[in-house]
């Protein structure tokens, strides 16, 4: 039986987690910036999304 390609699985899950974190938190920031009419929410949450995404990416590939 062929061995499963775990590198492919790791790469796929890492990519989805990175993108997912950025999208979810940026989306939340977008909603809050519309609600409170302040672009700062979008910027803060987008940066937070990148940080969380990068951290989760590091945890998965280390």
């Amino acid at each position: 039986m062929p061995k499963p390609d775990t590198n492919f699985q790791k790469a796929m899950s890492a990519a989805y987690t990175l993108l997912g974190s950025i999208l979810v938190l940026s989306g939340l920031g977008y909603y809050l910036s519309h609600k409170y009419n302040n672009i700062a929410w979008l910027i803060i949450f987008s940066i937070l999304g990148i940080i969380v995404g990068m951290y989760e990416l590091y945890k998965q590939i280390k």
């Binding site: 499963p4 989805y16 987690t17 997912g20 974190s21 979810v24 999304g49 969380v52 951290y55 998965q60």
Partner: protein, 299 residues
Amino acid sequence: MAGNNREMNGDLIRHHVTDAQISENSFWYPISDFLNNIGQKVSFLPDWMSIPFSKHVAMLWVAAIFTMGISLWATRRYRTNKAAQPKGISHIYELLLEFIKNDIIIPNIGLKDAKRWTPLAASFFIFILMCNFIGLIPFFEKLGGGGGATPTGNFGVTLGLATITFFAIIIAGTLKHGFIGHWKNMIPHGVPAPVLIILIPIEIIGMFVKPMALTLRLGANMTAGHIGMLAIFGLPYLIGSQGVPSEGLLPQPSWGFAIIAVMLNVGVFFLEIIVSLVQAYVFTLLSSVFIGMAIHAEH
């Protein structure tokens, strides 16, 4: 006048992808109304939390019945004889379960815990696959009203599935490391205290973001396919004659583009079958990776 057709296409797409009740003049309405009344009587939830019997709820019930029915049917021989030879659908089912166990669960969760988590992963895979495939059969559009797209394109459904993953991650970590041990694993060891102030909130946000990412990815991918197909079907009307509503002249499609649209959509339909399989696989894989991360927490 072109705006009219554009709006018409937009409404058509919204009508198809958003959840709706079965319409009152439909043949199936009495059944839907009966089930809705039962649901209201037995529900202990407040009104704003109630889930009326809509098309997506109906699709979920059908998918759940199919999932259980196929599982029971395919494994019937093994319940009486563990060494039974697979026959018919049991062959496919055995291949599928072997694939989930050997290719998804064991590499990510480990051999030791495989027996505990394979049933959840297999249920996720088969149920999501059934939901995705139900959306590809244009039967539910015939029940009257809109909402004939797949239930996995509804963010409420995917959020429900991701909530199961969220709790599975906590249960897996708690069973392996104990309740306090699981939460302690979230605090990285050997990191200076000032860095911890930054890392702990990031870990907490990450805990919620992972299932949310699952929710968005599955919902968005499944909705995108249906929107794409309807947009292609709307193309002949955008290019064709706009009609004059005041004189009772209906918009006419461009028949040349209609043939191209149908041919394109046949291709997209086969692509959607692959997307359905891939999305069920990815949801199961990511859930397993997250559960595995809680079990094999190294810090």
